[in-house]
């Protein structure tokens, strides 16, 4: 085994403790001793009230036309009033996002695990991976629609294509974080390659895998909405084009608001998973 013959060096900063994973770096989540003090909560609420209330006031004071930017209260009302109609579209988008993301991340994880086991193979496929990561998969949607029609299929494929490479590249970074001392430890007890993978490499890679999943999910959301805007009669992206074409701006912004909430939800979910399962690194 080649890694057994590397010169053992431990002094040069261990790969496992680079401190590069930044899932928990937003101070809004990780700062302070967990529970916020009353003054902090008050300040947070006050700032939010000033921003939203101030926006409302300024938009009305300067009589900004609704088709440019509707005031927050109208957006909120539109979201409430239109929600029964928007809800199914939210459902379609979620179906595309979840199934595309599931396919993409499973394939991405598998590929990351395989290519990092074979450094030679990794060198060969590296340019194609770069191509997959950097190409906006949205560009393929018209072609996919041509081939698969206006249903779910082209959108799910696009989401998977967008999410998969992001998951793969981050997971591969994680799997490459080899700590030779920890692998030596496992080997000294006679661990098999598979055991080393599951008990050392995978847990060491987990924080980076979570980062990859989060970025993949957000790219997936982006691509799902983009694909819906290209064609097909359903989904939140379709609502955006439809409302803007009818200059129904409060409804339009209500959908934008929903998309923001979805994005934040993705972040929070992975943040909480990271906190539960990968907090040893923070």
């Amino acid at each position: 085994m080649s890694q057994g013959d590397a010169i053992p060096e431990f002094g040069k900063g261990k790969a496992g403790e680079g401190g590069e994973v930044s899932l928990t770096n937003l101070s809004a989540f990780s700062g302070g001793p967990g529970i916020k003090s009353g003054a902090e909560i008050l300040a947070i609420v006050a700032v939010a009230a000033v921003i939203i209330g101030g926006g409302e006031f300024l938009l009305r004071w300067f009589q900004v036309p609704e088709y440019i930017l509707p005031p927050p209260s109208k957006i909120a009302w539109a979201l409430f009033d239109e929600f029964p109609f928007i809800a199914p579209h939210l459902g379609y988008t979620l179906v595309e996002l979840l199934s595309g993301f599931a396919i993409g991340s499973v394939v991405g994880l598998l590929m990351a695990a395989v290519i990092t086991q074979f450094p030679f193979a990794e060198k060969i496929v590296a340019p194609y991976i770069l191509l997959l990561v950097t190409t906006p998969m949205l560009a393929l949607v018209p072609l996919l629609i041509l081939r698969f029609g206006f249903g779910y299929t082209p959108r799910i494929i696009a989401v998977a294509l967008a999410a998969g490479p992001m998951v793969m590249i981050n997971a591969a970074t994680g799997f490459r974080r080899v700590d030779s001392a920890k692998i030596a430890l496992a080997r000294s007890y006679g661990a098999s390659t598979l055991q080393i993978f599951w008990k050392i490499r995978a847990p060491m890679a987990l924080p980076m895998i979570l980062v990859g999943l989060m970025i993949g999910a957000i790219f997936g959301l982006l691509t799902a909405v983009g694909a819906e805007m290209v064609g097909g009669g359903f989904g939140l992206g379709n609502r955006l084009t439809s409302y803007s074409s009818m200059i129904q701006m409060p409804q339009f912004f209500a959908v934008v608001l929903l998309l923001s909430v979805l994005g934040i939800l993705i972040y929070v979910i992975f943040f909480l998973i990271g906190k539960k399962w990968a907090s040893w690194e923070a």
Binding site: I7, P8, K182, A186, G190, K199, I200, L206
Partner: protein, 274 residues
């Protein structure tokens, strides 16, 4: 010592040589290094940094192959990791995503066996870590982490314990405490220990014999017997005998370095050291 024991030492390192093939050329790390370790003997290996100490220990553990020569345990050559050999690594090398219990359980998980709970509890008590089982490594001090690593290594009841500069990263008080602990553990259940260290004091305190390796490529330049009875107190460390022994070892290490410098650049070395 009986004649049969003399014939088959616990560990026998014979003409061990190791060459690393690096991008910038071959790097000989060990050169025909030979020594024996008797059963339940504590042997320290000291030497200038980069003299191949860690390479030697990894070869003895079966984690590394040798380029030439052999290492034998109870007369049988070691070709890979051996269940009878426990290793304590540089720094504690605990798995940060596992709590202490799970870290100590790790070797058993790999082997698919169950730990001897009473023995593990005994060890944890012995090193003062009872009640810390649910703590994660990051919640423990460096000394506590290294104690946990010792428990992990001993939990399998190995007959040989290889320790690779285990206390190098600890402050000197903690290091003294750990040295005393190693001695206690040894008195509790005698084990063959090979201990690699930078600290001559630590080597003398712990060992029956101290081997000095020459600068790279390493081979045994000299060996010193440490005749003091156990348990050893830190008062012994302040005696003239220990002082003389420490100086002799220090001179041997420095002497080897000077000789190597002279061999490498005779003219310059003669100018500097007439």
């Amino acid at each position: 010592m009986k004649a049969t024991e003399r014939e088959i030492p616990k560990l026998a390192v014979q003409e061990a040589s190791k060459v690393y093939h690096t991008a910038s050329g071959d790097l000989p790390a060990l050169d025909r290094c030979s020594f024996d370790v008797a059963a339940n003997e504590v042997v320290s290996i000291v030497g200038p940094s980069g003299c191949g100490k860690t390479t030697l220990l990894w070869s003895m553990s079966g984690l590394h192959g040798l380029s030439a020569g052999s290492v034998a345990l109870d007369g049988k050559p070691i070709t890979g990791p051996h269940p009878d050999i426990g290793i304590v690594f540089q720094e504690a090398n605990l798995l940060p995503w596992r709590n202490l219990d799970a870290n100590i359980n790790f070797p058993f998980e790999i082997k698919g066996t169950r730990p001897d709970r009473s023995w593990v509890d005994h060890l944890l008590g012995r090193v003062g870590l009872d009640g810390f089982g649910k703590k994660y490594p990051r919640e423990l001090s460096g000394g506590m982490q290294q104690r946990a690593a010792i428990v992990r290594a001993l939990a399998l009841k190995p007959s040989v314990l290889l320790m690779d500069e285990p206390f190098g990263a600890l402050d000197s008080f903690t290091r003294d405490e750990m040295n005393r602990l190693v001695e206690e553990i040894w008195l509790d259940r005698p084990t063959t220990i090979v201990f690699i260290t930078h600290s001559i004091e630590e080597a003398i305190f712990l060992s029956d014999r101290v081997l000095v390796l020459s600068p790279r490529p390493g081979r045994v330049a000299k060996e010193y017997r440490v005749p003091f009875p156990r348990p050893r107190s830190f008062e012994i460390m302040a005696t003239k005998e220990v002082f003389d022994l420490t100086n002799a070892i220090k001179l041997e290490i420095v002497g080897g370095r000077v000789a190597k410098a002279r061999a490498a650049a005779p003219a310059a070395a003669e100018g500097a050291l007439p």
